[in-house]
């Protein structure tokens, strides 16, 4: 009796796997186009789950937007035109790679500024330390002591 129940129970355990199986959406009839769609949607942010790309998201809107990209590519639109379509509607926020413009200068060049500033500070510090070390040579007595400490044993 128990054994008879075992098989159905084990099959039940497989259910979650079967449920996941339908997540892989069938590719469009044109694999080349689909690759282009995915490559472009990789660079666009899903507005619903903001840290995911349009390519990786299962959100309804992401599916719709991928469909938009697909249709526009089929209609012969270039990647730039499609990106413009997206930013016209959702702003630069959809781009994972923000454009270089006056409002994003700090974002783009800030890290280099910080790096340059820290290098300058480090150089200044080292220079000062070296100057201080040079100012204070060993006295004759100290030099003798060093020699006895390090000297031929």
């Amino acid at each position: 009796m128990r054994r008879a129940l075992l098989l159905p129970a084990m099959l039940l355990l497989l259910l979650p796997i079967a449920a996941r199986a339908d997540e892989a959406k069938p590719l469009a009839d044109d694999p080349v186009l689909e690759k282009r769609v995915m490559a472009l949607s990789e660079t666009l942010r899903c507005l619903v789950c903001q840290n995911e790309s349009l390519a990786g998201s299962h959100a309804d809107l992401a599916v719709d937007l991928r469909q938009q990209i697909r249709e526009q590519m089929k209609a012969g639109k270039s990647d730039e035109e499609i990106i413009a379509f997206m930013t016209d509607r959702y702003g630069d926020f959809v781009l994972f790679l923000p454009p270089v413009k006056s409002t994003t200068y700090l974002l783009w060049f800030g890290p280099f500024l910080l790096l340059a500033a820290s290098v300058a500070v480090a150089l200044l510090y080292l220079k000062r330390r070296r100057a201080r070390a040079g100012d204070d040579p060993l006295s004759e007595a100290e030099r003798k002591r060093v020699e006895t400490l390090l000297g031929d044993s």
């Binding site: 507005l47 903001q50 938009q68 509607r89 959702y90 702003g91």
Partner: protein, 174 residues
């Protein structure tokens, strides 16, 4: 003593920036549509799909476009505020029924009340994409020239209505 002043200043500056960051809602994305012409559309009316509604009909009027759906939970929070707004009769609210089944949408309005001058069905969500809607509810204030003047993301609160939307509408209606 002076040794600690610089780190202290740096810490305070950082703390101020982080504290300011906490007050901002990362879900609120600034709309690029503000002060741009509202995307034109023609969609079937929810109540009678054989009739269509064109956004051009709203030329010369200040109006609100509110994206909603029967499956949208946050829309229920917003609904009493919209009903109150429609009772005031200050500004017409048009409902964009986003990716919804017609029957479900109608039943929802039946159950909770209909604050809309008219609802239109955006079944495939394309008009919503044109408006940069990324979740319902979202509301746009559109002026007489058909220019988007304001966007509210998420449910309209009484506070947002009183402090932002109504003053703006009155200003635009002058």
């Amino acid at each position: 003593m002076t040794k600690f002043i610089l780190p202290l200043i740096l810490f305070v500056v950082l703390a101020v920036f982080l504290a300011f960051g906490l007050t901002r809602d990362p879900r609120e994305i600034p709309s690029p549509l503000i002060n741009k012409p509202a995307p034109a559309f023609v969609l079937p009316q929810l109540a009678d799909p054989s009739k269509s509604f064109s956004s051009k009909e709203m030329r010369g009027k200040v109006w609100l476009l509110n994206g909603w759906a029967s499956w949208c939970v946050a829309c229920r929070d917003e609904h009493p505020v919209l009903l109150e707004l429609s009772r005031m009769g200050v500004v017409p609210v048009y409902g964009l029924d986003y990716k919804d089944e017609r029957r479900a949408g109608l039943a929802w309005l039946e159950e909770f009340g209909d604050p809309y001058a008219l609802s239109i069905s955006d079944t495939d969500g394309r008009v919503a994409i044109d408006y940069g809607i990324y979740g319902v509810p979202e509301t746009f204030v559109i002026d007489r020239e058909g220019v988007v003047r304001y966007k509210h993301t998420g449910p309209i609160t009484v506070e947002a209505l009183q402090k932002k939307i109504l003053p703006l509408v009155r200003e635009l209606q002058k």
